[in-house]
Amino acid sequence: MSLRPQSLQSSSFPQRERPQLLHLMVGVAIVAFLAYLSVHLFQFLLHEALVQVLSVGQIPVVKLWTPEGLMLNVRTLVGTDAQIALTPQYSGLLSIIIFSLLFVFLTFPLRGPLWCKILWLSLGNGVGLAWSLLRLSVGALVAYHFGCEAFAVASFITGPVVDFLWTVPVWSLGLSFVISTERKRIEAN
């Protein structure tokens, strides 16, 4: 617990870092691919997964494809229909894209193995999708019990909180992992 003052020289590296531009370019390409997947695949996956989750909970839902995008029709307890649009912001896909951009521009240029960075970027996207599913399920559940207005309130409250809960922890854990992997690599050499 105690610190010896004589050893309290911080281990700051005085020299400047050299940005890993190749890693950055690879990261940007991956993010572009992930963004493409978000629009063309993840959204459908989320839609399908949400229907499955709600079906398990015996909540009556109908999938809708409208010109505005994917929607979910939830038959509420009082017998009315609540329609939930899976827009990028409601579905959480926007947060995933923001996370990916932040991660790429902050972490990929740093020293550290590329595989480690890609791993954490992918993990982050996976965690983000899982949180989005959870958030949408909670929203749909609220809509089922209390109606469409309650869904707006639920998504308003859970949206930023959920983003707080996953984006920064995943980013900081990823950064920590990259640093320790790099340190181990240097020590091994």
Binding site: L3, E17, L110, A152, G159, F164, T167
Partner: protein, 419 residues
């Protein structure tokens, strides 16, 4: 409705400015260094006489630690003078300092009586300034613990006649003590290792932090010393130095270790004083900074952003409320998108409360691994700071309305932890 939307957009815009600023600082700390001259080259030829002022009020638990360190400093003792200002202490602070002054002829003690003393750090420092002689005047808080060669590292920068003051890096000494100290350590890493260094590298306005820094004697005398009516006397001096046409250099290699507050109550008291002081400084200096001919445009912009940093948590809270109102009463597609971005903006717009970018990058540059795991807990201190800044703004506003002093100096207590 239009006004509400416009106000919301304005707030998001302000947060975006801070976001870009701190992102730029992080990138600068990582990839750009103007190149601080190696201190040893200068110190061979430039060794001015130096006075170290140590204001102390009821610091018997920590003053001995600092005074034991003083003889270990490598700066030539014939050019060193240490003045301990016992500011009407009721404990053994004065006695401890006296014992050291008997053993070392370059250490002297000023005892302030309860009638004259105890009115804050500024008055104590002014008293010390009158009684000291060094060309360069350093200030160390009594809970600080400097590196042995810190004076050489800091004083070397005074070879540049434009440099009016210098500031060293502050690192937390008692980091393992509690969650609060760990979070403060993270804030300090972001604030000094990244923020201060970037402002120095980018020729903006590095801040004098009130301790572990020093001034030219003729400059500080010309400026009239420390202002007793300012709660953030360090920020006030920072701007007075710049407005007088001098600059401040931040020296990352000159490290000094501080005892951070260990519980949330002390954290509240300390940050409340800082927030009040910063707000006082904003009202006192913002207009002068905008109009000053001694500042370049980018220094003016950075100065304003620095002065406004304690308003940001309030603005973030306000934008949340406005965002909520618009979201429920006048929902539009763009506002939903903006709302999704808000948490990230909020996280990145907290100035000295350590932003996760800066803290993460600072920890990376220090090769600290495990402390990064605490970054997700920073919203705790952010929300806490929101409350602190709201209270401080209310206090400042009230004092403006009724014309009373907003707050008296509240001393942070230290218990000698960290060793």
């Amino acid at each position: 409705m239009f006004i509400v939307h416009a106000l919301f957009l304005l707030l998001v815009g302000v947060m975006l400015v801070y976001l870009v600023r701190h992102y730029a600082f992080s990138l600068s700390a990582l990839y750009y260094r103007r190149g601080q001259p190696h201190y040893m080259l200068h110190s061979l030829s430039h060794r001015p006489s130096v006075s170290i002022l140590i204001p102390a009020r009821n610091e018997e638990r920590v003053i001995g630690r600092l005074l034991r360190r003083i003889p270990e400093l490598t700066y030539p003792k014939d050019k060193l003078e240490v003045v301990v200002i016992d500011d009407a202490s009721s404990d053994g602070t004065g006695k401890t300092a006296e014992e050291f002054s008997k053993s070392y002829n370059y250490i002297s003690v000023i005892h302030r009586s309860p009638e004259n003393g105890g009115n804050g750090k500024s008055e104590a420092l002014n008293e010390g300034l009158k009684r000291s002689r060094g060309e360069i005047v350093f200030c160390f808080d009594s809970d600080y613990y400097p590196q042995r060669d810190i004076i050489e590292k800091l004083s070397a920068y005074f070879i540049d006649p434009e440099v009016g003051a210098v500031q060293g890096r502050v690192t937390v000494l008692n980091e393992p003590a509690s969650l609060v100290t760990r979070l403060v350590a993270l804030e300090r890493i972001g604030g000094y290792r990244v923020d201060q260094l970037a402002r120095d590298d980018l020729s903006l306005i590095p801040q004098y932090g009130g301790t572990a820094g020093g001034f030219r004697r003729d400059l500080i005398e010309f400026l009239g010393g420390w202002k007793p009516d300012m709660l953030a006397e360090d920020t006030d001096l920072t701007f007075r130095v710049y407005l007088a046409g001098y600059k401040i250099r931040y020296v990352n290699e000159a490290e000094c270790y501080e005892e951070a507050v260990e519980d949330w109550r002390s954290y509240w008291r300390q940050r409340h004083r800082w927030a009040l002081g910063h707000m006082q400084c904003f009202f006192r200096h913002a207009w002068s900074v905008l109009r000053s001919e001694n500042l370049r445009w980018r220094e003016r912009v950075d100065g304003l952003l620095l002065l406004g940093v304690y308003f940001i948590p309030i603005l973030v809270g306000l934008s949340w409320l406005l965002g909520a109102a618009i979201f429920f009463f006048w929902p539009t597609l763009w506002i939903q998108s903006a709302w999704a971005l808000l948490p990230i903006f909020a996280y990145c717009s907290v100035g000295n409360f350590a932003l996760f970018f800066e803290a993460g990058v600072g920890a990376y540059l220090d090769r600290r691994t495990r402390i990064i795991w605490l970054i997700p807990l920073l919203p705790l201190s952010f929300v806490f700071n929101m409350l602190i800044c709201c209270k401080a703004l209310a206090d400042v506003s009230l004092s403006k309305i009724i014309g009373k002093k907003s707050c008296s100096w509240s001393k942070t207590s230290h218990n000698g932890g960290g060793f």
